[in-house]
Amino acid sequence: MRSMVPAATNPELSAQLRRGVLEYCVMALLRDGERYAFDLVRELADMDGLVIGEGTIYPMLARMRRDGTVETTWRESPSGPPRRYYRLTTAGRAALRGFVKEWSTFRDTVDRMVGGGS
């Protein structure tokens, strides 16, 4: 945190911030059930400021799969070839719970310090 430039005008800072939270956003999207990989990526990409290139989400998903927070299954598609679906594992669910708790404390603290809270 060397500079005091607002995040919106500092792509490097916003990339750093995004990096830490993006996988938890994936877990949150999967909380209510499995999702088709393509839909998952599109949904993340459509959220403002969260993702720059859709392609960069796939390495993160691969890493999450290796870490065991998500897993994939193939499902028949009504049109075309089988599709890969992502779903949250028990470990992923626990990691998300931990993050949610941590995040609210973290957010409140940072808000207080930088004066972003109401």
């Binding site: 290139g53 859709e54 392609g55 960069t56 796939y58 390495p59 998903l61 691969a62 290796r66 599709r83």
Partner: protein, 196 residues
């Protein structure tokens, strides 16, 4: 046209992902290919649409950079290891052949060269300069002269299983081959380092 654009994108991604373990590389390529297929299946399949899909995916080098970072893999750069590899390939054979074998293993596991370049390095010439040296050391035709008691001179020759001219041609190939292939690997290595 559409097909070649997708193929070009995937090929360039595959090349960029070279530093990753093969399984990761395959997996990522497959997922990106599925993504493109899915994105195109809903639309009109036109060239403009395809370009939009690829734009949204982003630059292959960005995807590869993200993958390297997520998996803690560093981009391969030509360094002491590669120099050592090339020296071993060239003259390692003289270290009881083991040197060349080590060089071959280093080459095969290097991330700096493509698979095709590695095959050239391994096949031209196995053992590096060793086969050339062995050929040069082979005894040529040896003739001995003996004088019999009657004063006659008998000349006996042995060895020399191949004609001398053919031996020279083979020797030239065995010398030039390994030197050429090492120079080839150096030029490919430098090209790649310049891109990085």
């Amino acid at each position: 046209m559409t097909k070649t654009t997708v193929d070009g994108y995937l090929r360039s991604l595959d090349e960029e992902l070279r530093d990753l373990p093969p399984a990761r590389r395959r997996e990522l390529l497959e997922e990106i290919r599925d993504h493109i297929d899915s994105a195109l299946s809903s639309g009109d399949g036109g060239e403009a649409e395809l370009r939009n899909v690829l734009d949204r995916l982003g630059d292959p080098s960005d995807i590869a950079a993200e993958a390297r970072e997520r998996f803690g893999v560093r981009r391969a750069k030509a360094g002491a290891r590669e120099i050592f590899t090339l020296i071993l390939l060239l003259v390692g054979g003289f270290l009881y052949v083991v040197g060349w074998v080590v060089g071959a293993v280093l080459l095969a596991t290097s991330k700096v060269w493509t698979d095709r370049e590695k095959i050239v390095g391994l096949l031209v010439v196995p053992g590096g300069l060793l086969p050339a040296a062995l050929l040069a050391l082979l005894p040529g035709q040896v003739c001995s002269e003996t004088t019999t008691s009657t004063g006659r001179v008998i000349t006996e020759c042995s060895g020399g299983t191949i004609p001398v001219w053919l031996a020279w041609v083979i020797l030239a190939v065995l010398v030039i081959g390994p030197i050429w292939s090492v120079m080839f690997l150096i030029s490919r290595m430098n090209r790649r380092s310049a891109q990085a």
